[in-house]
Amino acid sequence: MKKLKLLLLEDHIDEAEELADFLENNSYKITITTTLKDAEKQINNKHFDLIILDIMIQGKPDGISLAKKLNDNNVDIPFLFLSSMQTKLLFDQAKLTKPITYLLKPFNKLELLFSLELAMEKHYEQSNSISLNTNNAILSPASLFIKKNKSIQKVTVDEINYIEVEEKYSSLVCEEGNYLIKLSLTKVKELLSNPDFIQVHRNFLVNVKSIKEIYLDDNLIILSSGQQIPFSERHKAAFIKSNPILK
């Protein structure tokens, strides 16, 4: 489990530091920038999981300009806008393709944490997952975002042992625990598009790296964690076909 790396663009140093302190206390890593240029530089150099943008930077809507730029360059990072004005005019300037998440100043701590969740959910199009239930998670191609206490943390997809269908959801089983995702197994497979995850059953996706033993005759897969996964005939045939050594 890793902490999320956040970039903050805020021209008021006091506010920025207060915000950073609070977020650091809630298991986030913060990089503070005060100018558009600085922020761009940071984005080019490092990876961030989320960007918090104050819309008005020294009287100019630089926050929106940055978001627009990142959007145009297909930089796939969620944003959270901070604004002291709840007026349409400002937001109309940013005709972003994805729905924007904003937080009005002044905000309390709960609102800030909640808005971070909303920004993640909206960006990965998995609304009302972690914000509704702590067992839920958000899945991105590389990571799984889960809720730990009141903050978001991430788990790399490698740490997922297997994925099982659970009614309308998919249950992601990791070392640390199980997380529900509001996506069908097919959608999960599509989203991951990772060769390490293979389908072994109508209801199961398994991380190849976590397999300990395969009992072809008994149609059973045993994982390093000791869990037993059924191996259906249909998927077994396909599996053997793509792994000639097993013949």
């Binding site: 709840q86 007026t87 349409k88 005019l89 937001f91 729905p99 904003y102 009005l104 309390n108 701590k109 709960l110 609102e111 909640f114 609304s127 009302n128 914000s131 509704l132 239930n133």
Partner: protein
């Protein structure tokens, strides 16, 4: 003179009758033969010539029979073609050519009879009377297959030839034969003409005794007959006869009669002419009328055109007028609308002014007094007093800050500048976030904030819901005495709605004010009675709940508490 005229009349009759000649038996057999040949040959100059002959197109017949003659092989064909061409030539009065044709016809008994009859006629036409007599006499040897009509005509022509040769006895004989033939034919006109012919022949020979009864006879017969020309002729003949007999009185009578017939003839012609003239006059009148009608039509067309132009001008005028009228009404409507909008804006402005001057000024003033008090307390070092005053100041600042927020949101909402987007959100974290801000306030009054929240998704605009909740919770805390309890619940209300309920143990709202609050459904700033505690906060709540497609329900019991319930659209 008299009989020369008669001869002329007769010759023309001969021509006329020559046409009928076709019905002759010999001719019929010739036609049959021609048709047989034609069937064999198909479409050839021969057939063309023959068909033109039947159609009496003698020019074409003449030309094509010429071509056909050049191509024909058999004597039969040649004979037939010669006959046809000769006939056509004689019709066109080319007697010499006709003579050539007829002479070329072979002596075949089949054509012999026809050949000699035609030759007789041609020689008569060429005034070679001896040859004419010669050929007619050959024809006469075999007259079995000659039609009655043709016989009579040939007899007549033969008699004529004899007359010209002055063989009166022979001419006599043939005239008689013609007469006999005429009797057989039972045609009065032909009969009378034959009689006149004989009479003329006799008279020319000065055989008056024989001629005169015939003239008388023909005269009498003509009298009963309808032909006026014949009547005139016979009367004239009688007049000449009587004049020669020196019976002048009778002659004059006949002349008068002839004149009368001539007049009637003239009259007939005249009547015809008159009627023609009448026709012309009528035609002229009609033409004039047509011209007049045309003029009238022209006038009408012009009037119509004028009328149409007038109407179209009128229509255009009306259209332009209605366009301007509509524009005007549109403008008027716009002006009225603008006026109404302006009124609303003006009222909002007035209201905001009054809020700023009254609701904001007094708390700020109190705040100033609190600070002055603080300053004194600091000098006195009254720590407990300082704490108390500071708490009051903070509470005052908080409430003033909320009021300011409400004013801001209200004006944003009124000018339609508020960002509004309904999306699905979980309700409980939002309620918790709002409550978080009131924890301090509740603590100072020792009020317990209880929550029973079910995880529910609702389709709402996040910011506006926060504004609503802040106002309602603020009210609940404000009207709840110290040590009271405020219970906040959320849950499913119906299939399509969920609820957030805020229940306090406050003073409650008197029924008259409650009814006023509930009447805020159609709220207007005018109706707000600030002195009675219905303020901007509730007004804003009511407006925003409505905008979120929700309902606000307030129930209250005096001294026991108030239950405020918001119904919102449920999202699945």
């Amino acid at each position: 003179m008299t009989f020369l005229k008669s001869f002329f009349v007769l010759l023309s009759i001969v021509n006329l009758l020559q046409v009928k000649d076709k019905k002759q038996t010999n001719i019929n057999s010739l036609k049959q033969k021609a048709e047989i040949i034609c069937k064999k040959k198909g479409s050839s100059p021969f057939c063309l010539a023959y068909s033109y002959y039947l159609d009496k197109k003698f020019d074409s017949c003449y030309i094509f029979s010429n071509q056909a003659l050049a191509l024909s092989n058999t004597q039969d064909e040649k004979d037939i073609l010669n006959y046809i061409q000769g006939h056509s030539a004689s019709k066109k009065k080319l007697y010499k050519k006709a003579l050539q044709n007829f002479l070329e016809i072979s002596e075949n008994p089949f054509y012999k009879n026809l050949k000699h009859k035609k030759l007789g006629y041609i020689y008569l036409s060429l005034e070679d009377y001896e040859k004419s007599v010669f050929h007619y006499s050959i024809w006469e040897q075999d007259i079995e297959n000659t039609s009655k009509e043709s016989k009579r005509i040939s007899y007549h022509n033969l008699a004529l030839s004899h007359v010209f040769l002055k063989n009166y006895s022979d001419s006599d004989k043939y005239f008689k034969k013609e007469l006999a033939q005429a009797i057989i034919e039972k045609d009065t006109l032909i009969y009378i003409n034959a009689k006149i012919n004989i009479a003329n022949a006799y008279y020319n020979q000065y055989r008056d005794n024989e001629a005169i009864p015939l003239f008388i006879d023909s005269y009498k017969l003509a009298k009963q007959y309808s032909n006026i020309e014949l009547k005139q002729n016979t009367a004239k003949n009688m007049a000449v006869v009587e004049k020669n007999r020196k019976n002048y009185k009778a002659s004059v009578n006949y002349y008068i009669e002839a004149g009368k017939w001539k007049d009637s003839l003239w009259n007939r012609d005249k009547i015809w002419e008159l009627s023609e003239a009448d026709k012309k006059v009528a035609l002229a009148q009609k033409e004039i009328e047509i011209v007049r009608q045309k003029e009238k039509l022209k006038l009408q067309a012009f009037q119509k055109k004028g009328f149409l132009t007038g109407i179209s001008f009128l229509l255009v005028f009306i259209a332009v007028l209605s366009y301007f009228y509509r524009e005007r009404t549109k403008q008027n409507k716009l002006i009225t609308q603008q006026k109404e909008d302006l009124n609303t804006v003006n009222k909002t402005k007035d209201y905001l002014f009054s809020v700023v001057s009254h609701d904001l000024r007094s708390p700020i003033n109190t705040l100033r007094k609190q600070h002055e008090k603080l300053l004194k307390q600091v000098i006195k070092k009254d720590l407990i007093g300082i704490q108390k005053t500071t708490h009051t100041a903070i509470a005052l600042t908080e409430s003033t800050y909320r009021l300011l927020n409400n004013v801001l949101h209200w004006s944003l909402e009124q000018s339609n500048l508020m960002l509004f987007k309904q999306e699905t959100y979980p309700l409980s974290p939002i309620i918790e976030q709002v409550l978080y801000d009131f924890e301090n306030l509740a603590m100072t009054k020792n009020i317990i904030l209880n929550t029973t929240l079910n995880s529910i998704l609702s389709k709402i605009d996040l910011e506006s819901l926060k504004i609503i909740l802040r106002n309602l919770i603020d009210n609940a805390i404000k009207y709840t005495k110290n040590d009271g309890i405020i219970h906040i619940k959320s849950g499913v209300h119906s299939e399509k709605q969920c609820y957030i309920e805020i229940e306090d143990t406050g003073v409650g709202i008197p029924p008259d004010i409650l009814s006023k609050i509930n009447a805020l459904e159609n709220i207007d700033i005018d109706k707000i009675d600030r002195s009675n505690g219905v303020g901007l906060g509730l007004l804003l709540c009511q407006t925003l709940i409505k905008k979120n497609k929700g309902t606000l329900i307030i129930e209250s019991t005096l001294e026991k508490g108030t239950k405020t319930k918001i119904l919102l659209p449920l999202s699945t």
